[in-house]
Symmetry: C2
Subunit: 339 residues, 2 copies
DNA sequence: TTGTAAGCGTTATCAT
DNA sequence: ATGATAACGCTTACAA
């Protein structure tokens, strides 16, 4: 049997209350402290987090719901988040919902039944459809942090990426290099991030008075295959773009695959700007110009906010923090041939 | 305040014991059952998993320790695992250790302190260094499932991939196509999987009496960059291989990047066989010939074994299940030019 | 500062 | 089949 604080108390010749207080960082009389520490060590005592949780209504777990476990942007954030909260002894229950609304709702309920102390929620296509579920958390004062998505009707902490500007900068860069025909491969038509990124694209075109051409505006659903076929369609069209901007990791890779297949040379014949930094981006030749989202920083931020809320500190609530992106300029862009 | 089983009992006019029994699937007298169900619904009662856990010494969580959250093979398995165990209301606490021994040990301890009901452990470079920690679990009768790794001294359930044969088949295929100079880009020198895959490589060469040449045997540490530089070295050497076999996803992509950079045509000038099926593998041109590991199946298997153990069923303990791989033949291989 | 004891939401034993 | 009640391991008034 695992030793309990009772065993420790007995061995140390003090009461359970004293041991408990020691465990919670309260001061004991010197000689008692020594006895307790000795007993703990000798018995190899570990406190029972579950029992503790029952008493203070805390599970010491944080529910995290991401789109997919194989989504590198999401998991990068989670990695940093975990590092941050583990310091205060929280652990993460990670769930994915594979773009399935029912599954998402189910998971939200599931985590609530498990009494998670906080919730971190990742981009989704249906903020509206799940406000109800999220509201259940808020009603019980369970802190919720939303990552890079829009919950217009709900007051939660949010960490947002400056998607609009990110996109604007990328496209502006291309324009300044002389491109006038810039294609975009964007995500889900009605996701928050896609809309923002699209808006940035339009803004840049407008600023430089470049016509918008629907033929080179594609929706790739944030998938490899989507990026691939979108790129292919554009490049095989009557009037192909001289530059392509892909708005996430998977579509960027997909687009590159298409380009390579068509034997189009980057950046001579086509410039490419992608999204998300990934290990391969420095390996591929030519190295990719891309927008880097500060995933680690976002995870850390989310963790810090949660820890603060969990301590009852709501002084800066609600945080809507917008983090900047970085345009990493590498070799995949150049001026168009006939400019 | 959340309603408790007491509130339900009161509202239904029965005792807490009755409600508890109902909740646990025991039979009640018809009219009682109806009253209880009604009360539960009206109060929107949810049982408290933590309190439950305190009583039966169960946390309803399964600790999963993988190398990295961004490792697609690992996360694919976890996805399937989660699907399997969630049906019985278990959730997963997912940890990664980023190839850091201390972190791994820390995580193992961390999960134990959280009273996980079972442990799933992923390939590591140091099976020996952590037997101690794993033993702590076994001593407390906490089921442990090891995925694709070797714990020679420990009796645990294991799910193994038939790495040796996988590798053998791939190399044999190349040989049969006429290749005599086949390079291998392998993982960590002393990881279990690497050794097995290497052994399969050697076995194939031996069977067909092909000399082993250290110059085209490289260790790429399972990373993109490792694969990239290993491929580059081989291909730029005095006597480059006519075929390359890369033993995981990341190195495969890295190797391809190198090949493309060197403007070597696949499969005309170089055949490539990779490891792990990934979304991009069907997108890239030429499509990749590769060894597919049955990640989903492995996750499901692990989940099923755990659920069985958790029910006390040790009738088939210890399972050392070896799952077969599949060689998916696509366009990236062909006979060498001068054969 | 410390001990005592009630209670967190369940389950399980023992009567009935 | 059901009710009463003592646990599970811990925290926290309250008293000393």
């Amino acid at each position: 049997m695992k030793p309990t604080i009772r065993d420790v108390a007995q061995k140390a010749g003090v009461s359970v209350g004293t041991v408990s207080r020691y465990l919670n960082g309260l001061k004991l009389r010197e000689h008692n402290r020594i006895k307790v520490e000795k007993a703990i060590k000798e018995l190899n005592f570990k406190e029972n987090i579950i029992a503790k949780g029952l008493k203070n209504n805390r599970s010491m777990t944080i529910g995290v719901v991401i789109v997919s476990l194989t989504d590198i942007f999401g998991t990068s954030i989670v990695t940093a988040l975990e590092r941050t909260v583990e310091k205060e002894n929280y652990s993460i229950i990670l769930c994915d919902y594979e773009n399935d609304l029912d599954r998402l709702k189910y998971k939200l309920q599931f985590l609530r039944d498990r009494s998670v102390d906080a919730l971190v929620l990742f981009p989704s296509i249906w903020p509206n459809e799940i406000t109800e579920s999220v509201n259940d958390y808020l009603r019980d004062d369970i802190p919720v942090v939303v990552i890079d998505d829009d919950f217009p009707t709900l007051e939660t902490d949010k960490i947002l990426v400056d998607n609009m500007n990110a996109s604007f900068q990328a496209v502006e860069k291309l324009i300044k290099m002389g491109h006038k025909r810039i294609g975009i491969i964007n995500g889900h038509k009605n996701s928050y991030t896609s809309k923002e990124r699209y808006a940035g694209y339009l803004k840049a075109l407008q600023k430089y008075q470049i016509d918008v051409d629907e033929d080179i505006i594609k929706w790739g659903n944030y998938s490899n295959h989507g990026g691939y076929s979108a790129a292919k369609k554009m490049l095989l069209s009557y009037k192909p773009p001289t530059a392509i901007f892909a708005t996430n990791y998977y579509m960027t890779l997909g687009a590159i695959a298409a380009v390579q297949e068509l034997n189009i040379s980057i950046p001579r014949e086509l410039s490419i700007i992608g999204f998300d930094r990934f290990p391969l981006s420095e390996v591929i030749k030519p190295t990719l110009t891309l927008i880097e989202q500060p995933a680690s920083r976002m995870g850390r931020l989310a963790g810090q906010i949660i820890l603060r809320r969990l301590k009852g500190d709501y002084s800066d609530f609600p945080i809507h923090q917008q983090v900047p992106t970085k345009l990493l300029i590498r070799d995949s862009i150049s001026s168009p041939i006939n400019s």
